[in-house]
């Protein structure tokens, strides 16, 4: 039996939330320079909340984590990782669409 010593309240980060780029960099294991390059490439939105205080949307986390993993695990650079992420997302959308169409076709 696990004895719980602390009960914590969690805050759900929604679509409209922005996170400090430095925080999200730590979560995704990419450096700030790479993050800004990804923003320049259009992979993520960014805004400057104050001088040098960059923020990115919380919703960008999943794709940035993929970027971080690809860079670390496969040794690709920022541009390569960004391209790979976009292609992977396009591939998943197409596969999802194919599955959907196959389901429809299977009904007739």
């Amino acid at each position: 039996m696990v004895r719980v010593t602390h009960v914590l309240e969690a805050h759900l980060i929604g679509d409209g939330d922005w996170i400090a780029a430095s925080d999200i960099c730590q979560l995704c294991r990419i450096d700030l320079e790479a993050m800004l390059e990804l923003a320049a490439l259009g992979l993520v939105a960014s805004r400057e909340a104050g001088p040098g205080e960059w923020q990115v949307p919380a919703t960008a986390l999943p794709r940035l984590r993929v970027v971080g993993r690809l860079m670390h695990d496969l040794g690709v650079n920022v541009s390569g990782a960004a391209l790979a992420v976009e292609l992977l997302e396009a591939q998943r959308q197409l596969e999802s669409r194919i599955r959907h169409l196959e389901r429809l076709a299977g009904d007739y």
């Binding site: 309240e9 805050h11 759900l12 925080d23 993993r69 695990d73 992977l88 389901r103």
Partner: protein, 322 residues
């Protein structure tokens, strides 16, 4: 525990040069990386490959590993020799302390759980323990949590054991474990972040502690397909229900509801139950995709019905193709 032949995992000879090891790793990492691979066991294979590379790319670790000898084979029961690791800076499994880098921090290996074999030789392991796999990222901590769709709908709790280093009065560092329960609100979606303030790495001195970030991942469901906050249910109906209309009972995440199938419905047609998806602002919808299922013509009565339909209905299902 079972011995792991890291050379075999990477497919290289024991005397392979560092470049050959790196090339083998890159090739296999590309093949099995969970983000890009379609292999069924990609994640497990990738962890094996990454663990092998973690050892063989590091001259100290590799030398210590080689010290075990070449007689071992993968899967063979293994226990480190009592004096194993002495004299190697990176080795940490031998008596004298775990000096190896923690597997849960930084570097290319921090995304994985090392095997018991690796940990026994080189130390490491996640700074967390418990039911969920968690990773540390410096000041903030991060964990991916898998939850069922029903849990995402209703909200749920998860219990974690968080381990933090604590400096004792005598200056030594001790790992302290706290068991915490985190309430996860209803309406979380895949990839969504949950922040638990102050539960990351403790700050130095009077510095603020980091936060704990939980990234949710909703597991596939046997009935529903999830698309953001909307769910789609494939719903079988009888031909007469689709043709004549019917009142049917449909499962939703919040419980069963009555739904009217309009007369003249077709297979594949979607009916929307507004607000019956995941909670949110606005909440998602449930799409009920009708699937007309034909009764088998496996009895004289059933065959007679189909024969009657053929005789009396002027119906050409392929008329639109002509």
């Amino acid at each position: 525990m079972e011995f792991r032949d890291y050379y075999k995992v990477l497919g290289v000879e024991r005397g392979a040069a560092a470049d050959a090891i790196k090339t083998a790793y890159r090739r296999l990492a590309r093949k099995y990386h969970p983000d890009v691979s379609k292999e069924a066991d990609a994640e497990a294979r990738f962890k094996e490959v990454q663990e092998a590379y973690e050892v063989l790319k590091d001259p100290q670790k590799r030398a210590a590993y080689d010290e075990l000898g070449s007689e071992w084979t993968s899967g063979q029961q293994f226990r480190p020799p009592p004096d194993w690791g002495s004299g190697f800076e990176s080795a940490g499994g031998a008596p004298g302390g775990r000096r190896g880098r923690s597997a849960g921090r930084g570097g290319g290996a921090s995304e994985q759980d090392f095997s018991e074999f690796f940990s026994s030789l080189f130390g490491g392991g996640s700074p967390f323990a418990g039911a969920e796999r968690m990773h540390a990222g410096g000041r903030d901590h991060h964990a991916r949590i898998d939850i069922e769709l029903e849990e995402a709908f209703r909200g749920t709790t998860r219990t974690f054991e968080l381990r933090h280093p604590e400096v004792k009065p005598d200056g030594t560092v001790e790992m302290r474990t706290r068991t915490v329960r985190v309430s996860i609100p209803a309406g979380v979606a895949t990839g969504q972040l949950i922040r638990v303030a102050g539960q990351g790495e403790p700050g130095a001195g009077e510095g603020a502690a980091g936060d704990l970030y939980l990234e949710t991942h909703i597991l596939p469901h046997r009935l529903y397909q999830l698309d953001n906050r909307d769910v789609t249910l494939t719903f079988p109906v009888a031909p007469w229900e689709a043709a004549l209309g019917a009142a049917v009972t449909v499962p939703t995440l919040g419980g069963e509801v009555e739904m009217h199938v309009p007369a003249g419905s077709q297979s594949g047609q979607k009916l929307r139950l507004r607000g019956r998806g995941l909670p949110g602002s606005p909440p998602g919808d449930e799409y009920v995709q009708l699937k007309v299922v034909l009764p088998a013509a496996n009895s004289p009565e059933a065959r007679a019905v189909y024969e009657d339909m053929r005789a009396k209905l002027n119906f050409d299902p392929r008329a639109a193709q002509r």
